[in-house]
């Protein structure tokens, strides 16, 4: 359709210009603030250049937050993919078409919920005395108390379980739809060779879906960075700093504890650099 028309210019240029302004202004300004020593309490500030960044690397709580964020990424991404592939294959194997439709509808519901809602739902459910999720434990042990959200060892996993509840179930639907798009011949051939059901999936169908599954994992890695709402509502980074991810720590430095906006911004800039570099590289590899 190589027609001479002004349409591409009038349609694309304003939108991209607005997107550029809306994204570049805050991004560049984040860097500017990070090089200053602004605080919320006073309008005065001066330039301190890189000293915020130097302070960050000497800040044990920051290093802890980096480690918690890395743990969070790994736990949520791996668990989501395992749940998604497991349930997706199960639906493909044992559910009738009608049941598949019902499950697909049910499995999309958690991901549509605002994360704040999901966090509340499970915060109630995990309540040690009155929660519905801890009830079976109370019942079996005759009333012992289990409080997953207030133990450093379990808090991260308890919050991660909510993330997997939302995304793992949703991705199971996508895995099923991907399996349904595969041509039936290779599966038939493997069946004629007396392959077991799990072997068919491990050696035939899932390798065929390698590219979309990697893209799916990529999407989950990006979404896992947005863990703030869950953690803010469920644990506030606690107990102690056991679930304090980078965005949670940046928020509490900038707003709750001290109002050190510049310090928080330095943290945000480091996160931005790390994620943009990582994901640009990953994306180019996925596309290649």
């Amino acid at each position: 359709m190589a027609r001479r028309t002004s349409l591409p210019v009038t349609f694309v240029v304003p939108t991209i210009a607005i997107l550029l302004v809306l994204s570049m202004v805050p991004t560049l300004y984040a860097i500017v603030i990070a090089l200053q020593n602004r605080e919320l309490s006073t309008p005065d500030y001066s330039w301190v250049w890189l000293s915020n960044f130097v302070d960050l690397f000497l800040d044990r709580r920051f290093l802890n937050a980096v480690w918690v964020s890395v743990k969070w990424e790994i736990v949520t991404v791996v668990a989501t993919m395992v749940v998604a592939i497991g349930l997706g294959v199960l639906m493909f194997e044992v559910a009738s078409p009608r049941l598949r439709n019902i499950y697909c509808l049910l499995f999309i519901i958690p991901v549509l919920l605002p994360r704040v809602s999901a966090a509340f739902v499970w915060k109630f459910a995990y309540h040690p005395l009155y929660g519905i999720a801890t009830y079976p434990y109370r019942l079996l042990t005759g009333g012992l108390i289990f409080d997953p959200l207030s133990k450093p060892a379990t808090a991260l996993f308890a919050v991660a379980s909510v993330d997997v509840w939302q995304w793992g179930l949703f991705f199971a639907v996508i895995v099923l739809k991907l399996l349904e798009t595969l041509p039936p011949q290779p599966i038939e051939a493997a069946r004629l060779d007396h392959a077991k059901r799990w072997q068919i999936h491990a050696y035939v169908t899932l390798p065929m879906l390698k590219a979309p599954l990697i893209s799916l994992m990529f999407v989950k890695m990006i979404e896992s960075l947005r863990s703030f709402d869950l953690i803010y509502v469920m644990t506030r980074g606690g107990p102690g700093v056991a679930t304090e991810t980078l965005d949670m720590y940046a928020f509490s430095q900038g707003f709750i504890e001290s109002g050190k906006v510049s310090y928080a911004s330095a943290m945000a800039v480091l996160m931005m650099i790390a994620t943009v570099i990582t994901f640009t590289m990953l994306w180019k590899r996925v596309q290649a």
């Binding site: 359709m1 028309t5 349409l7 591409p8 997107l19 739902v121 928020f251 906006v261």
Partner: protein
């Protein structure tokens, strides 16, 4: 093979139960008096009360939050439609050497950590005097809605059969009327899915709204999370009712979005 299938079905049924039960339980708790919630053994049989829901709907802060959420999300989605759909169409139908870069740029906006956007924007809005106002929130959310709608609408426009558009050109339609009268209506169903998705995304957004509002422009998620910070003084039934109110709008789009998913994967097949 039989016992294996049975176990598989049982696991699926359990997963389906886990998917909806916590939410149903919350909805049930919204109808309970506090004595029926604070029990060691969960109660299924109780006398329902409308007090929690009535209390939530009667509170000014909740109604203001609801109003703010509707206005901010509605306007941002509208801006996303007006700016995002035409741009997506142009990228899909008039690809040039920048098309790949444009697509990557739009996607890369999703990599930006929300904190990294929210902190500088807060300082900027404070300086121009728009902090804690709906316009500031709408402009910030537009970045989200434009990029998401564009990202999802490009493949939707690409899947419109080219022949239809060619035929329209032959009939003497101009480039703009082909967009208006052919591409938009034909792709309408997929586009509705993209728009619904962007709405759910900003409706559920929390961090940016938290940082850009202090009293006037609070959206519903912020109001709901504040209710809980009053600790155990707030009856749990009220909290549960606010969670239900917050969750209802995105769930209204369940049908549209699952249809959208189906259509995305049906295209892949052909």
């Amino acid at each position: 093979m039989r016992p294996g299938r049975l176990i598989g079905k049982a696991i699926l049924a359990l997963a389906g139960f886990l998917a909806v039960f916590p939410l149903l339980w919350t909805a049930l708790n919204a109808l309970k008096n506090n004595v029926d919630i604070i029990t060691r053994v969960p109660r299924l049989v109780f006398t329902p009360t409308w007090a929690n829901i009535g209390y939530i709907l009667g509170r000014d802060s909740v109604l203001t939050g609801l109003y703010n959420s509707v206005v901010a999300c509605g306007s941002a989605v509208l801006i996303g439609i007006v700016l995002g759909l035409p741009a997506a169409y142009a990228v899909a139908r008039y690809p040039n050497r920048w098309a790949g870069d444009i697509q990557f740029f739009v996607l890369s906006l999703r990599f930006l950590p929300p904190v990294a956007v929210a902190i500088p924007l807060m300082v900027i809005w404070l300086q121009v005097g728009l902090y804690d106002t709906l316009p500031a929130l709408i402009i910030t959310y537009s970045l989200l809605t434009i990029s998401v709608i564009m990202w999802l609408a490009i493949p939707a426009f690409q899947s419109v059969p080219k022949d239809i558009e060619e035929a329209a050109f032959v009939d003497g339609y101009g480039a703009y009327s082909v967009f208006w009268r052919i591409a938009l209506p034909v792709a309408a169903r997929s586009l509705a899915g993209a728009v619904a998705f962007s709405f759910v995304l900003v409706w559920n957004e929390f961090l940016i709204a938290l940082m850009l509002s202090s009293s006037n422009a609070k959206t519903l998620p912020i109001v709901a999370s504040e209710l809980s910070q009053q600790g155990m003084n707030v009856p749990w039934g009220i909290l549960n009712a606010s969670v239900v109110l917050l969750s209802l709008p995105p769930l209204l789009f369940l049908g549209v979005l699952s249809g959208f998913l189906n259509s995305v994967f049906r295209q892949k097949k052909t």
